[in-house]
Each structure stands twice: as C-alpha cells, then as structure tokens.
Amino acid sequence: MEIEIISFGKISELISNQKIDFDGIADTDNFKLHLEHQFPALKSMKYKLALNKNIVQENTQIINKATIAIMPPFSGG
C-alpha cells in the first residue's frame, strides 16, 4: 500500500514530504500510531490529519494511493 505524506508548518521541519510503502495500515488511527512510533516528537504535538483533502474527524479507512496531510494548529490571518 502506497501513502503520500505531506506535512505543514512546524511539523514540516520534523517530517518531510514523502511516499511510503507499507502494509498493515488500514485506517487513520493505525496511521497515527505508526507515525508517532517513527517520529516520537509528534506525541507531544497537536496535529490533525487530512485524508485526500478531507479533515479527519473520526477514524477513517485508508485506501491505496491515499494522500495524508499532517497539520499542526492553523495560524492564518
């Protein structure tokens, strides 16, 4: 399964945009576990995910070729 990761703001300094290829990541909760395991600094940061340009409000299934954005709190305006 291929997932494209894009990151923004403060988190872009920690995780660069990348394509990852792995199995066993069925949903966004799973993805977060994997991500925080790989980047422990994330655990203490506030962030939201967007799956294919939809902000993730509850655990959502991930399908192949998904794009997942990792977004710290917004600070526009």
């Binding site: 340009k53 917004f74 526009g76 305006g77």
Partner: protein
C-alpha cells in the same frame, strides 16, 4: 458540493493599500449597496524573548484552504443578505506593518455586512489550513499560534 466555481484567495506577498482602494472603487457601480465592512490583518512587530518579529512567512495547504473557504463563503451568503464578499490572504513573506489578510463584505444595510465580516474572519482563522512562521530580525524563527 455546490456547482459554483472555487475562487482563489491567495496573493503572493503583502496586500497593498492600492489593491484595497481598487477593490473599494469597483463597488461604486453597485448602487444597491449601503454599507461595506472591511477587516485587515497587519503583521505586528511582536517582541518575544528580546527579539523582534521582522516578518511572517505564510504557507498553506492551498487546495484544502480554498475548498474550506468556499464552504464558509456559501454558509455566510446563506446566513446574511450580502451583495458582495471578497477575501484575500497572503502567502510568502509579509513584513511587519504590512497587510496579510483582507476581508470585505457589503450589504444594503450595515448590520449584515458587519456581522458577516467578523464571522468570516473568525472562521477563516479557525478553519483554514494556513500557517505563519514568525521570522525574527536575527533570522531565527518560531511558528505562530493563533490564540
């Protein structure tokens, strides 16, 4: 999703007073309008641990921002009897004292324009995936957080 076309809100660099004047002037032919409300965000020279902010560098998840903004725009037009709504947000570097946000609403009577403008600003700050990086005079930085 509505069929309406998604408008761009992003401009590169600061929003200039001349741009704002031009936007205001374009409304003189819209003679059903009686009141305009404008909000402008300006980059503050905040002092943090003895260092001064020199600029804010804005980045955004542009596609998601424009889609969100489109939804907000539709909700606001549904809620208030507006004649016009224009929204512009900077990307890239905006120096202290320069304008990074311009929200402009118009209606026949003043109250809808004023309420809509204020609500758009609140929602835009809370809901649009935009990030500001405060660049200090010594070129170090910190990521801005909306309070």
């Amino acid at each position: 999703m509505s069929e309406k076309k998604i408008k761009n809100i992003f401009v590169n660099g600061p929003i200039t007073p001349a741009f704002i004047a031009d936007s205001i002037a374009k409304h003189s032919s819209k003679t059903a309008i009686g009141g305009h409300s404008i909000f402008m965000g300006q980059v503050r020279k905040d002092e943090i641990d003895g260092k001064f902010v020199a600029a804010i560098e804005y980045t955004a998840y542009e596609e998601l921002s424009l889609e969100k903004m489109h939804q907000i725009r539709e909700a606001i037009f549904e809620k208030y009897p507006l004649n016009c709504m224009h929204i512009y947000h900077s990307l890239g570097t905006v120096k202290t004292g320069e304008i990074c946000l311009f929200v402009f609403t118009s209606s026949a009577h003043r109250k809808p324009a004023i309420s809509a403008c204020s609500e758009v600003v609140d929602r835009l700050k809370a809901e649009l995936p935009i990030w500001g990086k405060e660049i200090f005079e010594d070129e170090t930085h910190q990521w801005k957080e909306n309070i």
